[in-house]
């Protein structure tokens, strides 16, 4: 299976990857370009770029709202590809979307045309939250053909056979879902993360933890627990939403995104350092 060196290479033991998410086109095409680029400046190692789907069943309210804004502003799969092509960033881009958009793009031909186009504009891999390993073969094949990675999500409920099946299919990195539920920033960090990480300890793909990470200290905590990277979505989308609601200048919002990215990246680095030094704080 494909294993794009750019993607797996972004995760290093002493330089854990910071993987931010934004919905492409939120709140509009131009601003969104600025925002994504700001994340890269802030230290993103990989960017998960959402292609909005009208029924985002795996998302929490924050990202759902972002998707609604992006759709209202005219985002479509074709516009998304233009967007990716136009982006001026030098980190790997992962396309996060729902399967119907991938499937429908190719009409009768299945996922291949979408993947081909994505590869063409510079996408490195996919995360498809409504596509479990059982249904992933056609997409996996297309990804292999075009040398793209297919990231799977390991949930706290994923155990036994399911883990094995996923391990066979996953490439790029594995997305470790930190807790039950849907995406969304939260104030605590779950013990489920440690258990999940332990279950896939011996996998040879990088482990990126997402769901609920809100600030640098969370990031540090997660990395100390063994993650190779952290995925942050809602905490960043919150900044975009706030800027949109308050009608802030794009540059001001971009600055805040960049600062937030920096805080998170630094947190991840701090975690890696603490882990290396085996400094485990009392509260653990």
């Amino acid at each position: 299976m494909a294993n794009n060196p750019d993607l797996a290479g972004a995760f290093e033991r002493d330089d854990p990857a910071f993987v931010p998410y934004l919905a492409a086109g939120d709140p509009d095409y131009e601003a969104s370009l600025e925002y994504v680029e700001a994340l890269a400046r802030g230290g993103a190692d990989v960017i998960e770029l959402g292609l909005p789907f009208s029924e985002p069943i795996a998302e929490g309210k924050t990202i759902q709202d972002a998707i609604v804004r992006a759709l209202d502003a005219g985002m479509t799969p074709d516009r998304y590809f233009e967007f990716v092509a136009e982006l001026d960033v030098d980190v790997p881009l992962v396309c996060m979307t729902y399967y119907n958009l991938i499937y429908q793009y190719g009409q009768e031909e299945g996922p291949r045309p979408f993947v081909e186009k994505a590869a063409d504009v510079g996408i490195t891999g996919f995360v498809v939250p409504d596509l479990p390993a059982e249904e992933a073969d056609p997409l996996r094949e297309a990804c292999d053909e075009f040398d793209l990675d297919l990231v799977f999500i390991v949930a706290p409920t994923t155990r036994g056979d399911r883990l094995d099946r996923m391990r066979e299919q996953v490439s790029g990195y594995v997305y470790v879902q930190a807790r039950l539920g849907t995406t969304g920033a939260r104030d605590d960090v779950s013990d489920q993360t440690d258990e999940s990480l332990a279950r896939i300890d011996d996998w040879d793909v990088p482990k990126a933890v997402g769901f609920g990470i809100k600030e640098g200290d969370h990031a540090a905590r997660i990395v100390r627990a063994g993650a190779d990277g952290i995925i942050v979505g809602s905490a960043l989308v919150d900044i975009v939403a706030e800027g949109y609601e308050n009608d802030e200048p794009v540059s001001a919002v971009a600055d805040r995104l960049e600062a937030k990215a920096r805080d998170l990246k630094e947190g991840a680095l701090r975690g890696a350092q603490q882990r290396a030094e085996s400094v485990v704080p009392e509260d653990q």
Binding site: F53, S54, E55, P56, I57, A58, E59, G60, K61, Q64, D65, V68, L71, T76, P77, D78, Y98, Y99, N100, L101, I102, Y103, Q104, Y105, P129, D130, L131, P132, E134, E135, F152, I153, V154, A155, P156, T157, T158, R159, R162, M166, Q177, L180, G181, T182
Partner: protein
């Protein structure tokens, strides 16, 4: 887990273990009657639900259309619609599985009320997600759910209707999946839901097939049922699928027009089987109302219960196979059929159900000499809508409500 190319399990990973657990429970309890599950289910359907429901010869319709019209009276089921067959089955199954809590989404409120009733009956805590807009326009159903002890959680995202409520329920489930069962209300969603809901609903055709033999001495030439998500449809068809001479007619909501507005993402109908194409929605590959990009369209129908952009994968497959014939009637025809059945047979049907009778009226020759029509629900819930919509239209059959002015004026 597939029906031809349709079906499958397109759900977030976090839910997959629950789906596998449910699949296992479905096979053991429903298919193999482990621990006497099906016996208890049937007994509760009988004593609590009121099964069997009658098959009634419709005197006036039969004469009007010169064909023997038999009505399968699911409107007489507890709660007023076929919905309880499924809700009771799933809540009981959840109990057998050791789940502690039930969640469900509801649009018009029919599935929510059936689930709340079943949960109260089986002493299970129950929460229903319902769009803000729907809560305000379906107050009586909200009352009923609350009275049955269910929590009703308003969903305020987006338009505040069924779609949003489904997403919100998925979110709850993704969080509480270990202790909670999500009672899906139709033959949609990831496997094993479509097959399981069909099995719970197929009691309709099981009874009807026996009853029509008693009444008419033979199988019908056709079975007609309205189709939204498709649970009453598949319930009415299931036991007749192998009877090759019985035509199976699925009548969808033609709404105001079959022409879609791609620009606005709006289909002014819910005729998924007739006009939709293949895609993936809410956990299954099936026929959908979607734009060319794959974004789901807003469907529309005067009947809230048919107003859904997807359809059960099994129905999609049976239509492709040519076993089920899709048809549709528009809002006006459904409203006229509502009035006609009310006036001529003394049965006020649900607006969903009225579509099946609209089809009969427009195609009396298509149903053969003996037809069974599923009266999927009663129309008490639709009174306000029907009065309002009737006033705005120029229908061939209607009724005037000037009695209220008379009562005030005098």
């Amino acid at each position: 887990v597939k029906f031809g190319q349709y079906g499958g399990q397109y759900v977030p990973e976090v839910l997959m273990p629950a789906i596998e657990e449910l699949t296992d429970a479905y096979e053991r309890y429903v298919l193999d009657n482990e621990d006497g599950f099906m016996d208890e289910f049937r007994q509760r359907l009988r004593d609590f639900g009121g099964r069997p429901t009658p098959l009634q010869y419709a005197d006036q319709l039969s004469e009007a259309y010169d064909t023997a019209v038999y009505l399968k009276r699911e409107d007489l089921l507890h709660g007023g619609a076929h919905k309880l067959n499924n809700a009771l089955g799933q809540v009981l199954l959840a109990k057998y599985m050791g789940k502690e809590r039930i969640i469900a989404e509801t649009g018009a409120g029919q599935h929510g009320t059936a689930t709340a009733m079943a949960a109260a009956h089986l002493d299970m805590p129950c929460e229903i997600y319902m769009g803000r807009t729907d809560i305000n326009r379906q107050r009586p159903n909200v009352f009923r759910m609350r009275l049955n002890g269910a929590e009703v959680n308003p969903v305020t995202v987006g338009r505040g209707t069924l779609k949003e409520a489904i997403s919100e329920t998925m979110r709850d489930w993704a969080t509480t999946v270990e202790t909670t069962h999500y009672v899906i209300g139709s033959i949609v969603g990831p496997a094993p839901f479509p097959a399981m809901v069909r099995d719970f609903q197929s009691v309709i055709s099981e009874e009807a097939r026996e009853q029509i033999r008693d009444h008419a001495g033979r199988l019908p030439d056709s079975v007609v049922a309205c189709a939204g998500g498709g649970s009453n449809t598949m319930g009415s068809f299931a036991e007749f699928v192998d009877d090759a001479d019985v035509d199976l007619l699925a009548v969808e909501a033609g709404g105001s027009s079959l022409t879609v507005n791609e620009q606005e993402g709006v289909a002014p109908n819910s005729a998924t089987l007739s006009t939709g194409d293949e895609g993936v929605l809410h956990g299954a590959r099936t026929k959908l109302l979607q734009d060319s990009d794959g974004q789901i369209m807003e469907s529309h129908s005067v009947s809230a219960g048919l107003d859904y952009a997807g359809v059960g994968p099994e129905l999609a497959h049976l239509v492709d196979e040519g076993r089920v014939t899709p048809a549709n009637v528009d809002d006006d025809a459904a409203l006229e059929a509502f009035h006609r059945l009310s006036q001529e047979e003394g049965i006020i049907p649900a607006l969903e159900t009225a579509h099946a009778f609209g089809y009969l009226h427009e195609n009396p020759d298509a149903v053969g000499d003996v037809t069974v029509i599923n009266v999927s629900g009663r129309g008490d819930k639709d009174l306000e809508t029907v009065i309002e919509e009737t006033e705005q239209r120029d229908l061939d059959v209607d009724v005037d409500m000037s009695v209220f002015e008379a009562a005030e004026g005098m």
